[in-house]
Structures are given as C-alpha cells and as structure tokens.
Subunit: 362 residues, 2 copies
DNA sequence: TTTCAATTCGGAACCGGTTCCAAGGCATGC
DNA sequence: GCATGCCTTGGAACCGGTTCCGAATTGAAA
C-alpha cells in the first residue's frame, strides 16, 4: 500500500473545488471566501498534501533560491558573513544554495554552473574577486548580483573602507609610541580573494606617512592566509635582531594569532617587547586578548542578503553601495597586561549567557 | 531588443530536430548519432541556450538539491563538517541548501519547511539532536536522511565514539600523573545539540574508574558552549584554592580555549600548575598549543554526503553506521613547554603552504 | 529482393503548479 | 424588473524539460 503522491488536482477534486482555487489558497490570495479557504485547508491537511516546489518554480519562473559563492568557507570572517546571509535568506523563505570554491578553476566552474543552469534567482558573492567578464555575463543574463566584501563599482555591494581600517590600526600602534611597525599580510593575488589585505597595507603606509615615518620595507612580509604561515612570517620579522619591529599589524586576526604564537616561541613578551594588532574581531581575538579592528561581519551578510531580497522583489533599481563602520578594539596585545589580570566576574557572564553551573550530586 | 529566453523547442526548431533529441543531448544519452549531437550542441551554443533547472526537476521528479541542517553554524567543528558535505555535494552536481537553526523552534520550522515543500531530495543533519517524531515523519515520507555526529539507531549516520574519546583524553592526563582532573562541558540538553559532551563526560568517569580514582563532583561544571562561558566555568574550578584540579578536560577545544584564558587570568602556568586537554582539534588548537583529541571533522562531512549521494542513487538500501577514529594529539598544554620553544623552520612551512615572502622594493 | 533487428529520431503526453479569462452568484441602484 | 458591478470560482492554457512509443532509416542476413 504505497501512498501515491498527492497533487493539486486531487485536493481540488476531494474538496469539490477547482485547481485554481486550491492554488489561490496555497498562495494566500485574498480572493477566496473564508468558507472555501477553510474547506481547502482541511482537505490539504487530511490528505497530507505537500506542494512540489519545482512545479511552482516552473510556473512562477522563479526558483526561490539564491546562490552564495564563498571561498575558503572555514575562514572565520567568511563564516560570520555567511551566517548573516543564510539567516536573512531563510527568513525570506529563500533557499540558500552554498557553493565553496577552493581555487579559481572551481570558482569559474561554479559560476558557470549557476548562470547556465538557471538554478538560482540571484547570486551573492562573499569575499571573492570576480573577473570582469564574469560580471558582464551575469549582468547580460539579468541575474541579480550582490557583492559582500568586494568594492566593485556599479554593483550592489556591502563593503568596508579597508584603507581607513589599515590606517586606524596603525594609528593605534603609533599612538602608543611605536615607531618601527611591521606589516604582515596575505597574497591577495595568489588566492582568489579580494584586495582587502592590500588596501589595509595602503592604510598602513598612509598612517606612517602622516606620522612622518619613512616606511621600512624590510618590515613588510606577505604569505598565505593562515595562522601557521603567519607564525613563519612573524619569525622573519622577529629574527631581524635589534632591527625587529616593536609592533606588528597583521591584516587579519587569523594571521595575528600566528604572530602571537611566533612571539611566544621567541620568548618575547606581548606587548612589552612587541605589540600586535589584527583585523576582523573574530571569536578567538577576545580569547587571545588580541587588539583588533572590528568590522561588522555578521551585518555585512545580513545587509547583503537584504539587498538581494529587495532586488528580487524589484525594490531597488540602481546599484547601491553600503559601507559599514570600523572601530579599533584595544586589548592586551597592544595595551599591556593590566587587563590580563582582571577576572571576568562570574555574575556578569551568568547574566549574559544564561550560564549555569551544574555540580553533579553523588 | 529584449532577448527572449530560449527554450528547448526553439533549439529543436533551429537545429531541425525534435525536442526529444535535444533533451537526449542535454542528458548525454547514448542514442544520438555523433553528427546530430554536434549539430545540436552548436545550435545550443549559438542561441546561448540555458536549460531551466526547475523544468527538469519537475519532469524528473527530483530537485537535485540536498538540505543541510546545522545549528550554530559558526562553531568551528560544525563548519569543518559542513565544508566536507558541501564539497562532496557540489562535486556530485547537487545543490547544497543550508539551513541554520538557532533554537528548537527554528529547527522545527526548517524541518517542516524542508519536508512539506518537497524542496530537496534528501536531508543531512549535522550535530543536532532530532525528536523521534520528526525522524518518523521523514521516514514516512521516504526522504533519505543522513545524520552526521549523532548516533541514532536505524539511520544512516557518521559518528565517533564520544565515550571512548572522553576516556582517552582523560587517560592522557592520568598518564602524565594527574589525579585531580576537572571536567568542563556544555549543556547539551539546553541547546539543540547532541549528547557528545555528556558522552565525553561518561568517558571521563570511566577513565577515572579504571584508574581507581573516586570522582570529585566538585570538579565538574557545565555551561553554555562558548569560549567566554568557559572562562567563567574555568574560574569556578580554579578558585577552589588548594583543592583546584591539576588538570582539566574540556569537552571541546572552543571551551578549552576559554579555560586557558582563565588560567592566564589567574596567573597559573600551563601545564605546570594546571594542564589542559580539549576535544576536536580545530585550527586554533595548534595556535594555542592545546592538547586535544582529534576527530576527523572534514571527513565526517564527506562521508555523510557520500552516503547521501549513494542513497539518492539507490545504491544503499539499509541503514549504515560509519564510525571514525579518534586520536590524542599531545601538545604543550599538557606536555609542557619543551615544544613551545621549538621554532617551526621556515623552509618547512614554505614547502607545505607555498609560502613566499615579498619585500616591497621602494 | 525480402526479412529482421538495431539504431536513431520525432513528437505527443506528461510532470504539477500558476494565471488569466470567462462565467456564475449576489447585492445594489434605478 | 433589469442593468451594473463586485466577489468568487472553474478550468484551460501554459511554464519547459523528459520519456515513451512508434516510425523511419540503415545494415546485415537470408
């Protein structure tokens, strides 16, 4: 006794109405009398009717899905953004189709697949640089496109001012009296990322310039975007001996974590012998007591997804640029350890997180 | 001059063949002559034809999408699993539709939405406990279901032995001579998670029992699953004065990170005055030099997704359970700092990560 | 030349909702 | 009593691929 799938015409027949009426009930149309609506809803429940999404998609000409393209999904900053995007899309009743590209080949493949199979109504690209011809192709096909963390003109996008971010990070170190400040960044060009790191570097140079400090290019190193790579990169700076920097600006917290490890490995005190500031304010930053530049990661996702929802509803007609604010979060890695010794009061945590401590009775 | 969307019959007409033939070409059918296939492919390219996924879905009765249900997507262990799932699904040409549930209400809503709109061909649930009636419902509807990190009998699932994991973690501390060992876990019941933490706790008790140590329930605390909460939880144990533990097992690396911070705040040496071991081996573990129990997170995702792909292809007919291996990774937080002072050779990193150091010339 | 099978192909029916148009029912106004 | 208009409803046409059946073509065997 295999149950046959119920379709709309069975419901219509069973409820003694036309298929059009059932469809109108499904879509919450106003032009159905309350009595009829009630009867149809009852019948649907009784038959355990479940409408088929793809049939609806075909008729409506919309898939109800949005493609989200990310690269290196495990990066904390990417995830925070992704979370924001997914939450907004889910709330809007849209499917969040996530594609993870490890390299440029895969990126191209995913983009082609998204555009050429018409699987999604729109595309959100997170922290990835896209080739111009790809953008042109998507525009030509009239597929709404939103960029998160990539400042490409003439496209709807959510960005931060990376140059300014790099400047205020460096300014923070300068304000603490540092004059030899190192920079550790990632190779934006090698990966398929954006120019974030490079722009933060520009901000670093700018801050130095304003302060009247000649940049020492011996203090600038770049490598892959990972904590482990940053350990080695940090060591390069630290092994300069008496010429080593008194402070280091890492272009992301992930790399800053590696720098801190390198400092520990060299037996150097943070920030006594070398201060550190990162960028992003991800979860580990507070654990590592790492000074950083906060950017609203979650919000970049929610804003980007909201723009997409608006675009799909035809609410926005011209490209719009949203810039989110930045803020230096000073912590122990630059200020010193007066904070390290302060203990978070238990009561406070209990209040914020609903902490409860269970002591198992024997 | 708005381009009308091209459909299959236009291609057929233009190529001088029937729609059936075009469809066969699209699906790589064998029963098309090479000459005809070539002609059709040319026509498709010339017209820039892009088949509509939803039309195909409707005809084939399959959506080509898999729903992935996660909770707390930002947790590093969840992401690693998610990455594995997404990669395998993408490779198989399936859409990965990600749903993030923050609480039980949202979880129920997402599950209902997935099953009752027939949006996906199968559902993968990551690190979430699901109510029995939900599982029954999904089974009744014949929707393939795979669990990752949740050991529910009679369902295809990828798991680890959490009890054993808790035991080997505790054994590691015991082998180093520790006798007063604290346990810090999370409230699995309050969140919508699985029983992982609780089972690791059982392993902890088991190890103590085998070692002939009476468990001291004063050394057992639980709270929300976050680093910040773990700081406060750790403080509870550390403020026991002379009764404080000489070692702490935290049921996840995220919480272990908080414990280490608490130790620093109390000015206690790790592992001299208190050793720490965590669980998962996420990225920050190596940065923090944190001893841990490695579980194959990425692999749990790839295995689970592979099972789903097999199920959708009708290759597996009976529930199957895959258990992944565990392994203690001893690091500085339990062994001591003989490792801390060893510096990772630069050459090694260069070899593994393609590190290159760029010194900008002026 | 005829027979038979294999290969290739055309096209109608179909998947299951959506939408538009026509029509029925009912109340109101003159 | 009839015209008018609004609300509600039924159902055909349609969205664009897929699949199955029948037919045409080809080649080999008889």
């Amino acid at each position: 006794m295999k149950k046959l799938p119920i379709n709309i015409s069975m419901v219509a027949a069973e409820a003694g109405v036309g298929v059009g009426t059932v469809s109108r009930v499904l879509n919450g149309s106003e032009q159905v009398s309350d009595a009829t609506r009630e009867r149809v809803l009852c019948t649907m429940a009784r038959l355990d009717y479940r409408p088929l999404r793809s049939a609806s998609s075909l008729s409506k000409g919309r898939t109800g899905a949005v493609g989200i393209l990310v690269s290196g999904i495990t990066r904390p900053s990417v995830i925070a953004r992704l979370e924001g995007v997914i939450d907004v899309l889910n709330d809007a009743g849209l499917d969040a189709v996530v594609l993870n590209a490890q390299n440029r080949t895969q990126l191209d493949h995913h983009l082609t697949s998204l555009t050429d199979q018409r699987r999604v109504d729109g595309i959100i690209v997170i922290s990835i640089g896209i080739a111009d011809e790809r953008v042109a192709r998507i525009k030509e096909l009239d597929i709404p496109l939103v960029l998160v963390d990539n400042d490409v003109p003439n496209l709807p996008r959510v960005v931060i001012d990376d140059v300014e971010g790099g400047k205020i990070a460096t300014d923070h170190l300068l304000s603490l009296g540092h004059r030899r400040i190192g920079f550790i960044g990632d190779n934006s060009d090698i990966a398929i990322g954006t120019l974030s790191s490079e722009n933060r570097y520009l901000g670093y140079l700018k801050a130095l310039g304003v302060a009247g400090i000649e940049p020492d290019f011996e203090l600038v190193v770049r490598g892959p975007h990972s904590s482990n790579a940053a350990v080695a990169l940090g060591s390069v700076l630290l092994e300069l001996g008496k010429d080593r920097p008194s402070a280091i600006f890492a272009s992301s917290d992930t790399m800053a974590a590696g720098v801190i490890k390198a400092l520990h490995q060299h037996g150097l005190d943070v920030p006594g012998e070398c201060a550190v500031i990162g960028f992003d304010n991800i979860e580990i930053s507070s654990i590592l007591d790492l000074s950083t530049v906060r950017q609203p990661l979650l919000e970049s996702g929610t804003k980007g997804a909201s723009m997409m929802v608006a675009l799909l509803n035809g609410e926005i007609f011209e490209p719009r640029r949203v810039e989110l604010p930045l803020e230096v979060i000073p912590r122990g890695s630059s200020l010193g350890n007066q904070r390290k010794l302060s203990i978070v009061p238990l009561g406070e945590v209990r209040g914020h997180h609903g902490l409860h401590i269970l002591q198992r009775g024997g």
